[in-house]
């Protein structure tokens, strides 16, 4: 059975082949490459499930596929390899599943709408899936970084898909640039990891030296690594925070979140695939992937938790006032990834992965649902032009509702279980010896209220009430290619929570917290159990239950559910009825601030255009006037002296003769004096 892992690379190779097929032969194919993509993703999905099964039967796997740079002479080899463990196979399944569904959905969204450039679209989609899958099963940080960057490239290409318009190319540029800024820190981190440990392997079965393990040993004084003059713990924190830069860029965490709402300029299936379920997930996945390293540094964890908690609240407040359906979803994505960061920083490794999983499902669902609505509305995204779509498109409505309930965190939809566990884990660790976490927890908790509010505001405005425009009265119909993926995801969003019903397990004593056990049985050094030991032993995280274990859990769940319901209830109260009105004006000055996203874009644009461009122009002035000026001055100086010196050449024979004579005379006198002729 173990040999099946030999086919693991095909998970990424299949979509890559579909990329090549669509790129070079897409024009001649019946669906312009879509079928190749669907076929490839189907294959990847099947293979991913096979891998999941293989790992479940206890065959976690690591192997080096290709040595990028290696040999006797090099101090450390740079390799590509695959690491199949509990975490990566789970993620492989999620990514290939959602990518598969997005490919199917695209048939309805792109092909049926007669978009141009379809081969390019499917080629880019294939390349994106390939790089994302490659990133997921990467067995070392360098490979992860490389595929991380390729994912960024595909995101650039897909956001800018409609390149003939002005908006998408600009959004694409912004997305790449902002994430590139984060990736800069990531790259420094990768280089620092190599310089420190000499290896960037994550670990896994059969891996002797992995950098989290070496770091652990170094903290215990059992291994010596080059820490560049810092105390090992300080240095590991620095390295961890550097890598975190890339995570924050890709996962759109404050202050690198600004690119994500703009990225909605891309086709909606792309938004679903990239900006909800997979690419943005790459960032937090990376934290989970090298959790053994972060668990060594309480400072890094606290930063992660705080960034996460703050982003969750911050983005949720902005989502409250948006008019476009995709904008609301964009801010909710940022907010939800904040939760995942909060969980990981708060010591809830399982909770983080759990929320990552459920969020991937329900956010892909919501984006595809929004895509369906947008098809129906003839590409009008303004929610104030919608309304009453419930009757016209029931499948979309119910699927969307399922996703919304999950997003808001209403029991028993999947989002409730995961979000609850996130908050619970943060709370108990905060109540332990890490009071800092309580601040992050408070922000996360407050965000629950806003989440409930904007989610239901969106649902009510889109589907309920009376239609507010002609297109909403007579929407464009959608076909099975759209409805099929929605139905699948709708069902999943409702029930995905069963993979980890931790509270129920706690109450009933039944072992139904599957994800928990799944992640705790990973290979040595890469499993939840090991991470908990590290959190306890090195980072000093302890769980505390002031009300007893069960009661604390119930109280936490009750608080978060109550807040979610309160938010949802407020939304229902405000926007109920056939003709809802805008309430944003009541916010007064705050509304302006929220509509302008707290002026985050403004200051970042200022940083780019006001500051950097100005510095660049100043540098240019210096270069032209001073640096080049010196060069030109030297040249004009020699020209000038040459011009003056040549005047010695009068062209008059008598002058030359006079000079010659004078010279001869002087020479003679000089010789005479020196030789003593005249004595």
């Amino acid at each position: 059975m173990a040999e099946i892992t030999a086919f693991a690379p095909a998970i990424a190779v299949l979509p890559f082949v579909s990329f090549l097929v669509a790129l070079f032969a897409g024009k001649y194919l019946p669906k312009k490459g879509a079928l190749a993509g669907i076929l490839a993703m189907g294959g990847s999905l099947v293979l991913s499930l096979l891998m999941l099964y293989t790992v479940a039967t206890g065959h976690a796997h690591q192997s080096t596929l290709y040595t990028w740079v290696g040999g006797e002479a090099v101090p450390y080899e740079l390799t590509f390899g695959i690491l199949l463990d509990q975490l990566s196979t789970l993620m492989l399944v999620i990514v290939s599943l959602i990518s598969f569904l997005v490919h199917v959905f695209s048939l309805g969204y792109m092909n049926d709408e007669d978009e141009g450039g379809l081969p390019r679209y499917y080629a880019e989609l294939g390349l994106f899936s390939a790089s994302m899958l490659g990133f997921v099963f990467a067995d070392n940080l360098l490979m992860a970084f490389m595929f991380f960057e390729l994912v960024g490239l595909c995101s650039y290409l897909l956001i800018g898909f409609w390149f003939r318009e002005a908006g998408p190319p600009s959004a694409a540029k912004k997305a790449f640039l902002v994430t590139r800024f984060g990736d800069y820190f990531f790259l420094v981190g990768v280089v620092a990891v190599f310089a420190t440990f000499g290896t960037a392997a994550f670990g896994g079965p059969g891996v002797e030296e992995s950098f989290p393990h070496l770091a652990e040993l170094a903290l215990d004084g059992e291994a010596s690594v080059n820490t560049f003059g810092f105390a090992p713990r300080t240095w590991f924190t620095i390295v961890g925070l550097l890598v975190l830069g890339g995570v924050m860029g890709k996962s759109a965490q404050f202050p690198f979140h600004t690119w994500l709402p703009d990225a909605m300029e891309g086709p909606t299936p792309v938004s679903a695939l990239i900006h909800a379920a997979t690419m943005v997930a790459a960032g937090v996945y990376l934290v989970a992937r090298m959790y053994g390293f972060y668990a060594l540094s309480p400072t890094a964890l606290a930063v992660i938790a705080f960034v996460g908690g703050f982003t969750a609240l911050f983005a949720a407040t902005m989502g409250v006032v948006k008019r476009e359906i995709k904008q609301v979803l964009a801010y909710s994505t940022i907010s939800q990834y904040g939760y995942i960061m909060l969980a990981l920083g708060g010591g809830g490794y399982v909770a983080g992965v759990f929320h990552l999983t459920t969020h991937a499902v329900f956010k892909a669902l919501l984006f595809l649902g929004a895509g369906s609505v947008i098809i129906a509305m003839h590409h009008n995204e303004n929610m104030w032009d919608m309304g009453g779509l419930k009757e016209e498109m029931p499948v979309t409505y119910y699927a969307f509702l399922s996703g919304s309930l999950a997003l808001a965190g209403i029991v028993p939809f999947s989002g409730f279980w995961s979000k609850d566990e996130v908050l619970f884990e943060t709370l108990i660790h905060g109540l332990g010896d890490s009071p800092l976490l309580l601040g992050a927890y408070a922000m996360g908790l407050l965000a629950v209220f806003f989440t409930g509010f904007y989610t239901f505001r969106m649902v009510l405005l889109t589907f309920h009430g009376e239609p507010r425009s002609d297109t909403a009265r007579d929407p464009h119909g959608v076909r099975w290619k759209v409805k099929g993926p929605l139905a699948v995801l709708g069902a999943l969003a409702a029930v995905a929570g069963v993979i980890n019903l931790a509270p129920v397990a706690e109450l009933t004593g039944a072992h139904i917290d599957f994800l928990h056990s799944w992640l705790f049985h990973g290979p040595e050094g890469l499993n939840g159990e090991h991470y908990e030991e590290l959190l306890e032993g090195v980072a000093g995280y302890h769980a505390a239950y002031p009300l007893g274990e069960t009661l604390t859990m119930l109280a936490s769940a009750a608080v978060s559910l109550g807040l979610a319901l309160a938010g949802a209830g407020l939304a229902v109260a405000l926007y109920r009825g056939p003709e809802p009105v805008e309430h944003t004006d009541k916010l007064g000055a705050l509304k302006t601030v929220l509509f302008n996203n707290y002026y985050q874009d403004e200051y970042q644009v200022w940083l780019a255009e006001g500051l950097t461009a100005r510095v660049a122009r100043a540098a240019d002035t210096v270069d032209v006037s001073i640096v080049d000026g010196v060069v030109n001055f030297v040249s004009s100086l020699s020209l000038f002296t040459g011009d003056r010196l040549r005047r010695v050449q009068t062209g008059i024979v008598s002058n030359y003769a006079a000079l010659l004579t004078l010279g001869l005379t002087l020479l003679l006198v000089a010789f005479g004096v020196m030789q003593g002729w005249f004595l």
Partner: protein, 517 residues
């Protein structure tokens, strides 16, 4: 073999000179395919071991007595090791592609143009292949002549200014370098009897350098190092000696820009590696901090300058300054990855900047403007060219699995853990270049290639001809291949040749002169 390569190029140059203009372009392409094929064959059968200057066994080595200068024998000594082999392939490849890229823009005096291109190819191969100082120097200076005429005759409006600036600036630099080198030669006194570079390098590393006049051995070494560094820094170019480059690039016809950025700049770093860093490792290490500082300044300052430009060619020209800063930084690190990565980066940057200049050239041929504000939405009209442009842009930004990333990453990994003070800080600051480079390239690509189609000039914009596009695609293929298989294609041989450059403790001490270690 090498003689054959140089000979074919020279002969081809004369033949092309003599041909009438109508046949020159095709003939030059056909002729340039011969050296390309020969160099690829040499690459295939390459069996050099170690560093040619430090007791290695270079491939295709030939040595004949030539003449005697005073007490120094000059021999015709040529050979290729792992450092020069990829550069020779780079030179022949880019020449062929540049000739192909000249078909559209060059419409007068073709036979002279192509003749000069082939003559330049011969000199470039000679520079990379020569193992004797005088032979090397003859080729080194011979490169300037065709480039001077290429800029001065076929260039833009300010071509004379640019050509003279280029020629005079680099030529003065050569003189400074020449003086520095001969300081070393005289300082070595009787321990060498020829101008053979391996002999000189080995004598210097063995600590044979003596004092000269009032100067002690270590002063001679330091002064010679500084003189040679200044001389080569102009060629690289290292900030603040870079100002000839943008002028030359902007005025030069596109194919000449391709050659200038792709190969001529590499001469500077190649010479830095061969002379300064191979011959005087001790001095280099003691001056590591200022050199690394210059490298970092080149990276950041060059990138900032690129950000302020609106002429596409100036943008690429300044970013060349920035990219060559990585090479300087990598060389000074004296680690396997640093020195090897710097050499790899030379090749990678040659391909990538060649690609970008060729793309700008194709755009210019069609729109007759290079200003960013004068056009937009070209992707609509010339998709393949724009595809290559985007690929080149991302390669420049260091996208993984393309050659640029490999080169830059090797340099970063090598430099971060280097021995000199503050190495991690220098590396981190230098790495910020990858953000700025993304900034200006994405900005200029967005402004020119995407959005609704507009053009400020009245020319009809249509897809480029096949012979214009072929060089772009060939370069993209090479870049991706080199980025995916760096070790097997080049890095293996490069590391083999750069490893001996890393000095032992004894050799570090020895460079300061004063007796054997």
């Amino acid at each position: 073999m090498l003689e054959l390569l140089v000979g074919v190029c020279l002969l081809g140059a004369f033949v092309t000179f003599a041909l009438p203009d109508e046949y020159a372009s095709e003939a030059a392409l056909g002729i340039s395919l011969v050296p390309l094929a020969v160099s690829l064959y040499m690459y295939a059968v390459f069996d050099g071991v170690g560093n040619a200057l430090l007791g290695g066994d270079p491939s295709f080595e030939t040595q004949y007595a030539w003449l005697t200068l005073g007490r120094y024998d000059v021999t015709w000594h040529m050979g290729l090791d792992g450092i020069s082999m990829p550069l020779v392939v780079l030179a022949t490849l880019l020449t062929t592609l540049a000739i192909l890229a000249s078909w559209t823009p060059i419409d007068e005096r073709q036979s002279q143009f192509y003749g000069l291109m082939l003559f330049m190819e011969a000199s470039l191969v000679g520079v990379f292949g020569a193992l004797d100082f005088l032979v090397w120097f003859v080729f080194w200076e011979a490169v300037l002549v065709p480039m001077y005429f290429l800029i001065g005759v076929w260039g833009g409006a300010r071509r004379k200014y640019a050509a003279i600036k280029f020629f005079v600036y680099t030529n003065i630099a050569s003189i400074v370098m020449f003086i520095g080198f001969f300081g070393l030669v005289f300082g070595l006194g009787d321990s060498i009897a020829s101008l053979d570079l391996p002999a000189i390098a080995q004598a210097l590393r063995a600590g044979e350098l003596g004092g000269l006049g009032l100067l002690s051995a270590s002063q001679v070494a330091t002064l010679a190092f500084v003189a040679m560094f200044l001389g080569f820094a102009v060629k690289v170019p290292v900030v603040p000696f870079h100002t000839w480059l943008p002028d030359a690039h902007v005025e030069a016809p596109t194919p000449a820009s391709v050659m200038l950025a792709g190969v001529l700049l590499k001469m500077g770093t190649y010479a830095l590696l061969r002379y300064n860093f191979t011959m005087l490792p001790g001095i280099a290490q003691s001056l590591a901090v200022p050199i690394a500082l210059l490298g970092v300044i080149s990276i950041v300052y060059g990138a900032l300058l690129a950000l302020a430009q609106s002429d596409l060619k100036r943008i690429v020209a300044y970013s060349s300054v920035s990219s060559m800063g990585y090479v300087t930084l990598g060389l000074v690190a004296y680690t396997m990855y640093g020195t090897g990565g710097a050499t790899f980066q030379m090749v990678a940057h040659g391909l990538i900047s060649g690609l970008l200049f060729a793309c700008v050239g194709v755009v210019y041929n069609t729109t007759h403007t290079r200003m960013v504000g004068d056009m937009s939405g070209l992707a609509d009209r010339m998709p393949v060219t724009v595809g290559a442009f985007v690929a080149g842009g991302f390669a420049y930004m260091g996208l993984p699995l393309m050659a640029g990333f490999a080169g830059e990453f090797f340099v970063f990994v090598g430099t971060f853990g280097a021995d000199f003070a503050g190495a991690p800080v220098f590396t981190s600051v230098g790495m910020f270049g990858i953000v700025i480079v993304a900034g200006y390239l994405l900005w200029s690509m967005q402004a020119t290639l995407f959005g609704p189609f507009e053009s400020a000039t009245d020319y009809e914009v249509s897809p480029a001809a096949v012979h214009d596009v072929v060089p772009l695609l060939v370069l993209v293929v090479f870049i991706v291949a080199l980025g995916t298989l760096p070790y097997d294609l080049a890095f293996d041989a490069i590391l083999d040749a750069t490893e001996p450059v890393l000095p032992t403790a004894g050799e570090v001490a020895a460079t300061f002169g004063g007796g054997s270690p």
